[in-house]
């Protein structure tokens, strides 16, 4: 069985979101870089994999999947369905709740911070401190909810790890590449949850992938 192919660069937190899921699911996969500076993401070959011309895209045999969170779910369903708990109605619902919270509460607060601090300078722009401040305030409100949740259970969806926890890893690793990671200090249960995730071999492997090569 040929390994799955994950198209995109390891600089992209949406690509590494998928890498974390693929690693945890124990899937065999390889990362195939897509060169944005040559416009490869808009090439007919890549548009056939992702009609929005974005990364990531995943190829598994003759199946193409795009949108990072759809890719992550596919990897788990195929290789490690316990990460979704789809066999249990209530547990699966709670995993879905926290998957949605990542997508619609955590990510919208964190993405602008990462964009201003990490991406904009690479594109020749300057970091807009006002945007960073406003979104740090939003992030704190979200983290307060996470703190309450993680005071009650070890992981977001209960006492065992799920894709809901894993989907936070890549962006949170990027937060640590900014000067603002100390925002987590006000939320001790969130910090402990994060420390636990950082110890996982899959997370360490992806963290190493994300470091720019020497």
């Amino acid at each position: 069985m040929a390994p799955m192919k994950l198209y995109g660069a390891t600089m992209s937190w949406n690509v590494t979101k998928c890498a974390v899921a693929l690693e945890e699911a124990g899937a065999e996969y390889e990362i195939v870089p897509i060169n944005f500076s040559t416009g490869e993401h808009k090439s007919p070959e890549h548009l056939a994999r992702n009609p929005f011309g974005q990364v990531p895209a995943l190829q598994d045999g003759d199946l193409y999947v795009f949108e990072s969170r759809a890719i992550c779910k596919y990897a788990c369903r195929k290789n490690k369905p316990e990460l979704l708990k789809e066999g249990d109605l209530k547990e699966a619902a709670i995993v879905d709740v926290w998957l949605e919270v990542e997508a619609h509460q955590y990510s919208p607060a964190l993405t602008p911070i990462l964009f201003e601090v990490l991406v904009k300078p690479m594109l020749g722009g300057t970091c807009d401190k006002k945007v960073v401040e406003e979104n740090l305030e939003k992030l704190k409100m979200v983290l307060a909810v996470y703190e309450a949740r993680l005071s009650k259970c070890k992981y977001l969806a209960g006492d065992s790890i799920s894709l809901a926890d894993l989907n936070h890893v890549s962006m949170t690793l990027c937060l640590f590449a900014t000067p603002h990671a100390s925002v987590l200090d006000g939320y001790p249960h969130v910090k402990a949850w994060w420390a636990g995730l950082m110890e996982r071999p899959s997370v360490q492997k992806v963290a190493a992938l994300m470091k720019p090569s020497a």
Partner: protein, 219 residues
């Protein structure tokens, strides 16, 4: 078995996201209104159901859920039948396609279409604010690019995830319904397969029933 409860206004797009799944699977439910004007969504009772103080929230016995798509998936899974398999989780490839187009609605379609609904309908009618035409124009440009992708997809398959209606299609109903009440509805005319797909969604009994509670003009 007590009917499930959906907390929020039956006119609200994200509440309707849940209601359309309940209707499709034929589940019994009641809608418990949450009064935004009275800031009921920030009350301790409601925050206990949805810690972000948003709508919808959901109760099935002792199970409380929030986030509209998570609630709707729970409903789809619980009431899955031969006639109503909206998620296709028994088939790896089909489930992947449902997930892909559900994500596309959330991260491509909705960010383009919802500002138009807010600027043209919600802001003037509910907040007394004028329409920001710049936002509308930028969103229309984005929406057209998204609709090109949809047109290509729906030229190949009857519905978004394949030749079967799914959770992915239904998620488009609430915001698109309100979009059709804005002055920009005719944008869809340039995308004939999208138009046919939309009309087939609108003809579904579940959608017709819910549309009756979703006013497109306010006094």
């Amino acid at each position: 078995m007590a009917p499930v409860k959906v907390f929020g206004s039956a006119m609200s797009t994200n509440v309707v996201r849940v209601l359309v799944c309940l209707e499709e699977v034929g589940a019994e439910y009641e809608v418990v209104n949450i009064d935004f004007q009275a800031k009921e969504h920030k009350s301790p009772e409601h925050v206990a159901r949805n810690p972000f103080g948003q709508i919808p929230a959901f109760q099935d016995g002792d199970l409380f859920l929030f986030e509209s798509r998570a609630i709707a998936k729970y409903v789809a899974r619980k009431h899955k039948s031969a006639d109503a398999d909206l998620l296709r989780e028994g088939n790896l490839n089909e489930a992947a396609m449902v997930d892909v187009w559900t994500e596309v609605e959330a991260h491509q379609y909705n960010p383009a279409i919802s500002p138009i609904v807010y600027e043209c309908l919600v802001n003037p009618a509910m907040k007394g604010l004028p329409t920001n035409q710049k936002v509308v124009d930028e969103s229309l440009d984005k929406l057209k690019k998204v609709l090109e992708v949809y047109e290509a997809r729906l030229s190949k398959t009857k519905y978004l995830a394949g030749d079967f209606v799914s959770f992915a299609d239904l998620n488009h109903f609430p915001y698109t319904y309100y979009f059709m009440a804005t002055p920009h509805a005719l944008v869809f005319d340039s995308y004939p397969h999208v138009k046919v797909w939309w009309e087939s969604l609108m003809s579904r009994p579940s959608v017709k029933k819910l549309s009756a509670n979703m006013p497109t003009s306010w006094p």
